[in-house]
């Protein structure tokens, strides 16, 4: 018995739409099996995890709060991966964005005017862009693998953050807790309930990127370089420029996400700070089929996996670490289902394979 892939004459449009849903269904089934193995009623557990949060107001708000950074980062990553540029260090760019935004309240706690909010957000973007520019530069100048360098920089960013927040930036009146002063007034983002302005940024970013990717020359260039690099080069598109563009874009968005997160949720910098948004956004990008609009829905769904984890912890007494398992399984199923878009899968018996080989 063996698995045979038959290339389709052209991409299956039906499968392109269906595959994320198949992946989702498979993940839910796998989740049910995991719950059953832990001795829980799978249906009840799945309800608590995936449905119950949607019935409560606070959870719906949290969903959007958590989805905002995922969508911001994920839409940038979707552009990267479309262009075959592998930025997997968004978590580091996110942390640096938060750090640079936090610099203002630390050094100028008394600065209060609408300007300060803009400056902090801008610093977040600049920080993320700068951190993203490092792997891009190393790739262009020394052809160092951007996957490895961008990931290594995540650790560097986290240690830098840890040092500043425990050391020079620690709140002198903070009873020795590893945190900075509280942001105040204009240093915080406006909120509607718990939902802060980051959600708006996320929506704008994904719509703008969708337009860039599908209606503008830049998007065409990136898509060509991603799917047929040689053709792209003959067309005069520079893959170096594309690498730099993608890293600056996704780094900037990740930095903005980091700045919005500390300005909208915690209102201070505290260590350890590892919400893992930068890594989960990789899953978001793929679940959204590398389409910025798809990323919006994917971001909401992955946000649900965070909230579901919390609600499972409360109601079922299991650790919220289960969320990470679901996220990992989901990405696996997404990648597996994507095969169906380009190929038809047939299972052949051993005999059929032999006759084929003989004939």
């Amino acid at each position: 018995m063996r698995l045979v892939l038959e290339k389709r004459a052209e991409q299956s449009v039906r499968m392109a739409i269906l595959s994320p849903f198949i992946a989702l269904a498979l993940t839910v089934i796998a989740g049910g099996i995991i719950f059953a193995l832990r001795g829980l009623n799978p249906f009840e557990a799945l309800y608590v995890y995936f449905i119950e949060p949607l019935t409560q107001d606070w959870a719906r708000e949290q969903l959007i709060v958590k989805a905002a950074p995922l969508i911001l980062i994920g839409s940038g990553l979707a552009v990267c991966y479309t262009a075959n540029v592998w930025n997997i260090g968004a978590e580091g760019q996110f942390v640096i964005g938060a750090l640079l935004a936090g610099m203002i309240p630390v050094y100028f706690p008394a600065w209060q005017s609408p300007d300060v909010m803009v400056v902090m957000l801008a610093l977040g973007i600049i920080g993320g862009m700068a951190w993203g520019a490092i792997p891009a530069f190393l790739k262009i100048r020394f052809s160092a693998n951007e996957i490895l360098t961008s990931l290594m920089l995540v650790y560097v960013a986290q240690y830098l953050f840890d040092w500043l927040v425990r050391g020079p930036w620690r709140d002198p009146q903070g009873f020795n807790f590893p945190k900075t002063v509280n942001f105040a007034g204009w240093q915080l983002l406006p909120k509607w309930g718990e939902i802060h302005m980051g959600a708006l940024f996320a929506l704008i970013a994904s719509i703008v990127l969708a337009v860039v990717m599908w209606r503008m020359l830049k998007g065409f260039e990136l898509r060509v370089l991603g799917s047929a690099p040689r053709a792209g080069r003959f067309a005069g598109f520079s893959s170096e420029r594309a690498t730099l563009f993608c890293f600056l874009l996704s780094g900037g968005l990740a930095g903005l996400a980091g700045a919005s997160d500390v300005m909208g949720v915690s209102g201070q910098l505290q260590t350890p700070y590892a919400p893992n948004y930068g890594f989960v956004a990789i899953i978001v990008a793929f679940l959204g089929r590398l389409n910025p609009i798809g990323v919006i829905f994917a971001g909401l769904l992955l946000a649900l996996s965070y909230i579901g984890g919390e609600s499972a912890q409360v109601s079922l007494g299991i650790s919220d670490k289960i969320a990470k398992v679901f996220q990992g399984i989901l990405l696996f199923f997404i990648l597996a289902c994507d095969t169906l878009i380009l190929y038809r899968i047939r299972i052949e018996s051993g005999r059929a394979a032999q006759t084929r080989a003989a004939g």
Binding site: L3, S143, N145, L151, K321, I322, G328, T339
Partner: protein, 291 residues
């Protein structure tokens, strides 16, 4: 003198997990497959090895469980990338995310438990020479045996190897499984020898450093040994400096291995002669046999 030996021993124990994982990945990449999931396989090896040793009381059975866990994870990767021709970069990332998530879940009850330590002779454990022996074995296999030639052929031109009648997919499956076994063992080394306990995410990027080591060693087993020991020395240096407390914040010393990895990648990748001659030509490219 005793101090000297102690330092060398700690360097060796720091280098061995990197070396084991890198050697496995080296074979995988020589066959043309890029498995970025080393971190995930390693962390699963660490948690399963720890758990098995805890339950059976035997660290040796723990090591076997580590190997099995690594192989299981690599089989998932192999099924997706080889049978379903999914994107290797994305699938490797998925493997790492899944491994980190699953291991946290499996190891929940292991946190804080005293582990079982592999017996050693004055700090010299049997896996140190084993890793070096493995480097010799990999080198011999790749460059002195016919099977090794087939692996390299598959990695350099899968279409030609297929035309010659070799089973590209089967060869790659075997290499991926070997890589998984090595990464699992490396993880087991961490939780049974290096720090005999379970801490979530205890691999802390070592799987990624192992990946960088393969590039650094330009896909050569003996250079991998040299690279791993160099990295081991650097991470120990960080610890030593910390104890002397020269006023450098500990966070900067903890950054050191990652910064060194970046610098090493830059230095080696900038040298086109060195990398181009040894990089498997089909690295990361999917293969679907046409008939």
């Amino acid at each position: 003198m005793d101090m000297m030996i102690a330092v060398i021993l700690t360097i060796m124990t720091a280098a061995t997990p990197l070396l084991l994982a890198a050697l496995g990945e080296l074979v995988v990449e020589r066959s043309g497959v890029l498995n970025l999931g080393v971190e995930g396989m390693m962390v699963m090896g660490a948690v399963c090895g720890f758990g098995a040793a805890l339950m059976t009381g035997s660290p040796w059975l723990g090591l076997f469980a580590s190997i099995a866990a690594g192989m299981f994870m690599s089989l998932l990767f192999g099924f997706l990338t080889l049978s379903l021709v999914s994107n290797q970069v994305a699938t490797g990332l998925a493997l790492t995310l899944l491994g980190l998530g699953l291991s946290g879940q499996i190891g929940e009850s292991f946190v804080g438990q005293p582990g079982v330590k592999l017996p050693n002779y004055d700090g010299f454990d049997p896996l140190i020479p084993f890793a070096i022996l493995l480097a010799w074995g990999v080198s011999w296999f790749l460059f002195k045996t016919k099977a090794g030639l087939v692996v390299r052929a598959v990695g350099n031109s899968h279409a030609s190897a297929h035309a010659m009648g070799y089973h590209v997919i089967r060869v790659r499956y075997l290499c991926v499984l070997f890589g998984g076994a090595c990464a699992g063992l490396a993880g087991g080394y961490l939780s049974l020898v290096y720090t005999p306990q379970w801490i979530e995410n205890m691999t802390s990027g070592r799987g990624w450093i192992a990946l960088a080591l393969v590039v650094f060693a330009s896909w050569r087993p003996w250079r991998t040994v040299a690279g791993a020991y160099l990295f081991g020395a650097i991470s120990i240096l960080a610890f030593t400096v910390q104890t002397f407390a020269w006023g450098i914040p500990s966070q900067f010393l903890s950054m050191l291995p990652y910064l060194v990895t970046i610098i090493a990648l830059v230095v080696i990748s900038g040298n086109r002669m060195l990398t181009r001659a040894n990089t498997p030509a089909c690295l990361g490219q999917p293969f679907v046999p046409d008939r």
